[in-house]
């Protein structure tokens, strides 16, 4: 559905995006994670035919990004939710959607049906005649989502859709993303919200000008973080820690009454570690495996690039 090969964008001497290569399959929710200025918005803008590419290739279905004759066709099949919602504050919710429906050549009957469908789905139908300028941030974001889908979009590009939203509105937006995912639409999601990426994305690419890694949240966690064992003790003393460090080669972190120990093979090493603790006088209360979060993975990868 989306194929990107060595995609590069330079603004004069600044390289915003360098040699990106990835694929997004039909019906997939693909997350693009990265710090501010990593090139996420630039990538979306190139894929939405808003700005030109400097080098490389990108295709959406059979249409080529950067080819003038294909640009209009691509724009017709995609929807964009930019980081700033960009609604017309003086127009009503209905008028905002109607305007975009017309621009996307949605026939009148279908357009009105879709407007009603999405406004009802997003709990905005009762406010359809109210000025968009009178809406809260969350409501505006929902209206921007409806706008991007009004022409029965095949691919939805979203740039930080939950940034600056309160938790309740952010949840509504996330639930909506999952709902439209069920309908088989392809979603390209720019975010720096790791929790959001983990919840809604099938695969994630981490970008910092270059694509640093790509995979499902599980694959990223498994491939990039070493497992850890968390052991809660009755009491942690400096003597116990120094004695333990002499007995086992693993890295040990202390957090209150807990020891967090890096391991490579849980089944083989955990019994040795427990035995070492008890031999130095420690009393084990609880043993648990620490599952690395996407945040751990993200921070590790981004740190490695510095």
């Amino acid at each position: 559905m989306i194929t990107v090969e060595n995609l590069t964008k330079r603004f004069r001497e600044v390289t915003a995006v360098e040699k990106l290569t990835f694929k997004v399959e039909e019906g997939e929710v693909f997350g693009f994670l990265g710090p501010n200025g990593a090139g996420k918005t630039t990538t979306i803008r190139m894929l939405c035919c808003l700005i030109s590419k400097t080098n490389g290739e990108a295709r959406i279905d059979d249409y080529q990004i950067g080819k003038e004759t294909d640009s209009l066709r691509i724009r017709k099949m995609i929807g964009l939710v930019p980081d700033n919602v960009g609604l017309y504050d003086d127009l009503s919710a209905f008028e905002n959607l109607d305007f975009y429906g017309k621009l996307y050549e949605c026939p009148e009957g279908r357009r009105k049906e879709n407007i009603e469908h999405f406004l009802k789905m997003l709990d905005l139908w009762e406010r359809k005649d109210a000025r968009a300028g009178s809406f809260s941030k969350g409501m505006k974001q929902k209206l921007a989502l409806a706008r991007a889908l009004i022409h029965e979009t095949k691919i939805l590009f979203m740039d930080e859709p939950t940034a600056n939203l309160d938790p309740e509105s952010a949840k509504t937006v996330r639930d909506f993303i999952l709902e439209i995912k069920k309908q088989g639409r392809t979603i390209f999601l720019n975010t720096h919200n790791l929790d959001e990426a983990q919840r809604v994305c099938d695969r994630i690419g981490i970008i910092k000008t270059k694509l640093l890694t790509i995979g499902s949240p599980e694959q990223l966690r498994e491939s990039l973080s070493r497992p850890k064992t968390e052991i809660r003790l009755a009491q942690v003393t400096e003597g116990l820690i120094s004695a333990l460090r002499k007995l086992i080669p693993n890295t040990i972190e202390v957090s209150g009454d807990k020891l967090i120990i890096d391991v490579t093979d849980l089944d083989r090493e955990n019994p040795t570690i427990i035995a070492a603790i008890t031999s130095t006088g420690g009393q084990v209360r609880e043993v648990a495996q620490v599952i690395p979060t996407l945040e751990d993975v993200y921070l590790q990868i981004v740190k490695e690039t510095k």
């Binding site: 609604l87 975009y100 621009l103 921007a144």
Partner: protein, 245 residues
């Protein structure tokens, strides 16, 4: 180029203008003052001085007709600035540019929206202006002065050409301006040469007869063509997204 797409943008922009009081006042007040105010001034000044001479009246009326040119130079600026800088402020350009519409269709739509309301208001004002002037001067002149070739040239040639010039200039200015008022102030510079022509006619350096008006039309047409290329160069998707914001 699909005119239907441009018209969708124009209709949306005009709907937005209708909800902005400042824009409505700007568009309505000027033709109202020129269309009704000037004939009334002529009526009262004439009455006070025991009537204006039949030789002085046509010169005055031609000069007053030229006021509509000033309107054509300044009024579209108000709307064009709202239309372009307004989108910039509301940050609504990105979703709009992501829609299946070409740069030229978008620019044409915005230009139509900035052209129709002021030029329409000027035409309505000029009809009132001509009717009132004829009413006030008919007895003195012994005939109906309007309509005549001069006003035809002004209304059908000079006003559209000047309005187009004003819009093109606003597009260029809007790319650099950060708010609508600043864009309007810079946009008003285009009215200065028109005001200079009016002053030149008042001090009798030039006469606003049909041949002079045709020469002025030619000059504005050339300026229109030059600014058309400059404004289309400014109004390009990537330029708008990366440099306008």
């Amino acid at each position: 180029m699909r005119i239907s797409k441009a018209w969708i943008v124009a209709a949306k922009d005009m709907r937005v203008f209708l909800r902005k009081k400042y824009a409505i006042y700007s568009i309505v007040l000027f033709p109202l003052i020129v269309g009704i105010g000037l004939p009334l001034v002529l009526r009262f000044v004439g009455a006070k001085q025991g009537g204006l001479s039949s030789t002085r009246l046509p010169v005055l009326m031609n000069a007053f007709s030229f006021f509509f040119m000033m309107g054509a130079a300044s009024l579209p600026t108000v709307l064009a600035s709202y239309s372009l800088v307004g989108e910039k402020i509301e940050k609504s350009l990105e979703p709009l540019l992501a829609a299946p519409i070409t740069d030229s269709e978008l620019l044409l739509g915005k230009s139509i929206a900035a052209f129709i309301p002021p030029v329409g208001a000027i035409y309505i004002g000029s009809i009132v202006f001509m009717a009132l002037y004829d009413l006030v001067t008919r007895n003195t002149l012994g005939y109906l002065y309007f309509p005549n070739w001069t006003i035809h040239l002004i209304l059908l040639l000079l006003i559209p050409l000047t309005a187009i010039l004003s819009i093109e200039w606003s597009v260029i200015v809007s790319s650099r301006a950060s708010d609508a008022r600043a864009a309007q102030m810079q946009g008003l510079f285009i009215a200065l040469p028109i005001a200079a022509i009016y002053v030149a006619s008042e001090v009798r350096a030039i006469s606003l007869d049909t041949s002079t008006l045709l020469i002025i039309s030619g000059v504005i047409l050339i300026a229109d063509i030059i600014l058309f290329f400059l404004s289309t160069k400014t109004f390009q998707r990537e330029e708008i997204l990366t440099k306008w914001t």
